[in-house]
Subunit: 240 residues, 2 copies
């Protein structure tokens, strides 16, 4: 006999790529800065954004292996930025680097995010579960109008996703069973790790997460509890 | 030469008594439950609320001394409740105790709190700095419509106020100097500890924090940067 569907109490959202468009936002900031406008620069803003983001997982792995002590994403983003500028011989002074690094605090929501979250909030507790640090997530929410009930971060749990302490940490904070939490993400590996901890999962299609010139597969796994094309589509599926 | 006034970037708010009326809220829950209606019960709901709250500091002191491991306020509130019920021979079953203990998640804002915070939010980042746990503060914000930019708690810093890690933790989360953070509280000892860590301070008058039958002095110290009669009065003082 199938278990009857239980509405999850808590919806925990991945942020980069799922709720906000990191690629488009970084491209706009790099273009506005004219960073790549010099003669002979082979890198496009779209490539630059992808290269910056690509450094993120190896940097977190260095933290989780213990090679680096606990380090916030802000500082990891800055390490990767410095390496990129060096590698491509791009000139940017210290205030410019600091300012560009804060671009990750200013990532714009996808067009459906604010409406979708506002509707989902009416019948659920909505929180972040992001590897971004608390200050970054608070700035982003304030600028973008993201109506979180609670901002949770790797910084609270001192572990980066996909470490189980992050997924189980959400359930502990709200004193609910892991099965009462649903992770909402555009990345199947994040959802698989959450399911491994007993959470429910919802896959969100973001085909242009890496740019319109680099579409990604948005098939998702049949193991997910829900599959939606946007956060408004998720609200529809959850009758919000 | 006097230093020119610098608007603090971050306003961090004490919660119990400063933003929400714990006494009135607990009294209403105890009355609705009829907990003290039995014959011969000498305790009034107002006394019960004060006795419950009075157990809070000694319980936190047991955590901070290391006698108890890290314990959330939810669990401390429950320990104190069980002791009180025992002491006064009051009957309440396990689901009733669990439900009453959650009264602290449902504390009502003072009448000026939502308007004051909404105005202050327009020119400041507003966050909580409370000994309450994250789940409690999120529930309270959702029910009461408290528009926080970020919910910070002793649970994030694994230390209870007045430990310096809590006050300095706010500055670290936002990567600002402690002098760019202002603690807003109705308790002079909290403000004194914050000032000792380099924060600015604003005293809020809450003469009936312990009930209309037990008014408290709201003089505050002249060492505070601001003194206001409510959160809307603070918004006025900060030109918000």
């Amino acid at each position: 006999m199938a278990t009857p569907w239980q509405r999850p109490k808590i919806l925990a959202f991945d942020i980069f790529g799922t709720v906000v468009d990191w690629h488009g936002s970084i491209v706009r900031e790099v273009e506005a800065l004219g960073l790549l406008d010099g003669p002979g620069c082979a890198l496009t803003p779209a490539d630059f954004a992808r290269a910056w983001r690509a450094g993120y997982r190896p940097a977190m792995a260095r933290v989780m292996s213990g090679e680096l002590g606990w380090t916030r994403i802000d500082d990891l983003h800055r390490m990767i930025l410095d390496e990129l500028l060096d590698q491509y011989h791009l000139a940017l002074d210290e205030p410019g680097r600091r300012q560009l690094n804060l671009a990750w605090h200013r990532l714009a929501p996808w067009p459906d995010s604010v409406e979708g979250l506002s509707r989902l909030k009416q019948r659920h507790v909505i929180c972040t579960l992001s590897n971004g640090n608390l200050g970054l997530l608070a700035d982003m929410a304030k600028l973008g109008g993201l109506p979180w009930d609670l901002i949770l971060s790797a910084e609270v749990f001192r572990a980066y996703k996909p470490h189980p302490d992050t997924y189980l940490g959400v359930a502990e904070v709200f004193e609910v069973d892991p099965s009462e939490v649903m992770l909402v993400a555009a990345h199947q590996d994040d959802l698989d790790a959450a399911r491994g901890c007993g959470l429910k999962t919802a896959y969100i299609e973001r085909p242009h997460e890496f740019g319109a010139d680099a579409p990604k597969s948005v098939e998702g796994s049949s193991a997910n509890d829900l599959h939606a094309s946007s956060l408004t589509d998720l609200a529809r599926a959850l009758q919000c």
